[in-house]
């Protein structure tokens, strides 16, 4: 068993977490999110070029897309083995963004096909998403997070106590903010798989927190007279091994998925990887520390009261 004074160092981790979130906020203000078609509406074309395009060629393709579709900031990026590209574009009608009409889409593909000598099958896939779907997806995502958080809070409050439930959910929101930070910082496209990833982290990152809380609950019963700080430190030292183990098995799986998976799986595995790592960190350093601060200030108040009486 390890013997680390986790609680003594908790302020370092508060500062660290706040620092990351401030970086995220700055990045968000500076460059916002890279909303994928799922959120903005528009068309995504996936084209097999049969060769890896150079940076200059990508820039040319973006220029071409801008010319033909009128998209102000079209996104062209390499996917999978680099020989395929994904083009993100839309048409603008007044204030509304819409998907590309068949004519415009054909015109764009034919222009690229001519340049790279492609056949019809090289247009691997395309997707049109309306703006209605997009705005609904956004509100759906927010609702899902809110509802899931409330339900988990209620469950933990019943099984443990309110303070555990609240700090566990705060740690969860912390993880989501860290995930969002990574998204805005690295300009990773935000799409519908992101929502699934976020909710999975929501469900998963609370697991480790529960393991630690469960141990505190138990130690409180067995070692009732122990000083709170020692009790929390003991519980954390007892559980850190298995917290790291459970995180490791999931991280292994996600890491392999990220390395080997196809584009859509990569986009899914990456935020999960970030979320699981953040979830393990936050259950050890944030959730428990917050609970400790809350509980000790509550105890101080309780001790102060009889003196006044």
């Amino acid at each position: 068993m390890t013997n680390i004074d986790f609680m003594g160092k908790r302020k370092i981790f508060y500062v660290l977490s706040i620092l990351v979130m401030v970086i995220g906020l700055v990045s968000y203000i500076m460059q916002g999110f890279n909303y994928d078609i799922d959120f903005t509406g528009g068309t995504v074309l996936e084209i097999d070029l049969h060769k890896v395009p150079s940076a200059a060629e990508i820039a040319d393709l973006e220029k071409l897309t801008k010319q033909i579709t009128g998209t102000q900031t079209p996104i062209v990026r390499k996917i999978e083995d680099g020989k395929k590209i994904m083009i993100n574009a839309h048409e603008v009608h007044g204030k509304k963004r819409t998907e590309l009409s068949k004519e415009v889409r054909d015109k764009l593909f034919n222009a690229i096909a001519k340049k790279y000598n492609l056949k019809k099958e090289d247009l691997v896939s395309y997707q049109n998403v309306g703006a209605v779907v997009s705005s609904e997806l956004k509100s759906q995502a927010i609702w899902a997070v809110v509802i899931a958080s409330i339900l988990m809070l209620i469950y933990i409050a019943i099984r443990f106590e309110f303070k555990f439930g609240t700090t566990a959910v705060v740690a969860l929101l912390h993880d989501l903010l860290i995930m969002l930070t990574v998204y805005t910082l690295f300009r990773i496209p935000l799409n519908s798989t992101f929502i699934a990833a976020m909710l999975t982290v929501l469900g998963y990152s609370i697991n480790d927190t529960i393991v630690v809380f469960d141990r505190i609950r138990e130690n409180r019963r067995i070692q009732g007279k122990m000083d709170l700080k020692n009790l929390v430190n003991l519980s954390m030292n007892q559980t850190i091994g298995r917290s790291l183990s459970t995180a490791a098995t999931v991280i292994i799986v996600l890491f392999v998925l990220y390395l080997m998976g196809v584009q859509s799986i990569k986009e899914f595995a990456f935020p999960l990887l970030v979320g699981v790592i953040s979830g393990t960190y936050s259950s050890i350093f944030i959730a428990t520390a917050l609970w400790f601060d809350w509980e000790s200030s509550a105890r101080k108040k309780l001790q102060a009261k009889p003196k006044r009486a």
């Binding site: 691997v124 309306g130 529960i210």
Partner: protein, 415 residues
């Protein structure tokens, strides 16, 4: 006792191996057969290729009946085109999602699904007498004057048609298809039995096609396409292959991890993990839950999470062993005391899974399904399969040294 335990353990392993074989390779005894999951599973479009289209009713608050009749109509049209493996489902209150495997161009599909063959009977001044909405049946017929489409109106339609033929006796009544005049017969007599014919068909085929179109033409409202996607079939099979490969490699690494860190219990957990994969894959395959790419990710992810419960139990067991308990007591305590944390951890994840299931759409739903089922199954295998196998192994008395259980020092423990 000891031999019996060994037999129990081996039989347990055999059952799992047998189930594994059936699920992944299928079974055939005489005429009875169980298909392998590979053949039974329903693949989503992202794995098979094809198009999907989401329609939205161009009407505020359509009733459930209206949505169902629109759905029925779309199905009829898909069948007419021989797209028997296409699916159409109502989504939410005013959307219909259509998936057609194997088709490449959504625009083409939209054209024939979305086309309303609107039939109208109009008087000489262009006033509407009766429309296709009141048609209950339409069929092709061969008469002395050539091929015709015979129509039968409902009660309301019959009444309207009778009034129209009375009013315009001796004059022309125009029959319009989608606004185009296709026949302009002169009314010979008042028709009050609700039957009419459209003349001027070139051949039987044209008559049949028109009859089918009219029958399928009574959309209660217009449908707007709000989303359409096309996925190439090669992309789908490639995605399936690489994702499966990644899943197998990931699982093997988890197997290795468990054995290195938890020794004998880790090995037992690995066998239980195989049981978990078999059960989960069997449920998804045979219950016809559509398997999507995120769905596979959900299976792989929940497999990574499935060993979590085992880790909690084994870590507890290690602690109890160190405290000097006998092997059996340590195991019992390990299972009992870890159970609280395991239940709480699983329930919170299921909460997230269920929220995802109810609020998500399309591919996210596929992921939520496999994740939720995966967690329930993993909970089951962790507390039953792992326990059964571990008890059997311990009772064989072959593994008494603490090092078999991840203890640091060599020490004999009592069973």
């Amino acid at each position: 006792m000891q031999n019996k335990s060994l037999a129990k353990f081996l039989i347990g392993c055999l059952v799992i191996a047998f189930a594994f074989y059936i699920v992944f390779f299928g079974l055939k005894i005489g005429t009875a057969s169980i298909p392998s999951v590979k053949d039974a599973v329903r693949y989503g479009l992202d794995l098979k290729g094809g198009v999907y289209i989401v329609y939205e009713a161009a009407k505020e608050n359509p009733t459930k009946r209206e949505m169902e009749s629109a759905l029925q109509l779309i199905r009829t049209r898909l069948d007419m085109r021989n797209f028997y493996d296409a699916t159409a489902t109502i989504q939410g209150s005013k959307r219909i999602r259509v998936e057609i495997p194997g088709v490449k161009d959504p625009d083409e599909a939209i054209q024939y699904i979305g086309r309303t063959a609107l039939i109208e009977f109009k008087g000489p001044s262009g006033d509407l007498i009766v429309s296709g909405r009141n048609v209950v049946d339409a069929y092709a017929q061969q008469t002395t004057s050539g091929y015709v489409v015979a129509l039968k109106f409902d009660k309301e339609g019959a009444k309207k048609f009778a009034e129209g033929t009375k009013k315009y006796l001796g004059q022309n009544i125009g029959i319009y298809l989608d606004g185009k005049l296709i026949s302009n017969p002169v009314v010979q007599a008042e028709i009050d039995n609700g039957e009419a014919v459209i003349e001027g068909m070139k051949d039987l085929n044209e008559a049949k096609t028109l009859a089918q179109q009219i029958k399928a033409g009574a959309l209660p409202f217009a449908l707007n396409v709000i989303e359409s996607r096309a996925i190439g079939p090669s992309l789908g099979s490639e995605a399936l292959k690489t994702t499966l490969k990644a899943g197998i490699v990931g699982l093997l690494l988890v197997f290795l991890f468990m054995i290195i860190f938890y020794r004998l219990p880790g090995f037992v957990a690995d066998i239980a993990l195989i049981a978990y994969v078999v059960i989960l894959v069997a449920i998804v395959g045979y219950a016809k839950i559509t398997l999507t790419l995120p769905g596979i990710a959900g299976i792989i992810l929940s497999a990574g999470m499935a060993v979590d419960a085992n880790i909690l139990i084994f870590a507890r067991m290690k602690e109890e062993l160190r405290a000097g308990k006998t092997l059996k007591a340590a195991m019992d305590a390990g299972f009992r005391r870890a159970l609280n944390a395991v239940v709480d951890a699983n329930v919170t994840t299921i909460i997230a899974g269920l929220v995802l299931l109810f609020l998500g759409t399309g591919p996210i739903k596929g992921f939520a399904w496999t994740l939720t089922i995966g967690i329930v199954v993993s909970f089951f295998t962790a507390i039953t399969v792992t326990r059964f196998l571990l008890v059997s192994v311990i009772n064989t008395g072959l593994f008494k040294d603490t090092r078999w259980y991840g203890g640091k020092k060599t020490r004999e423990v009592q069973a």
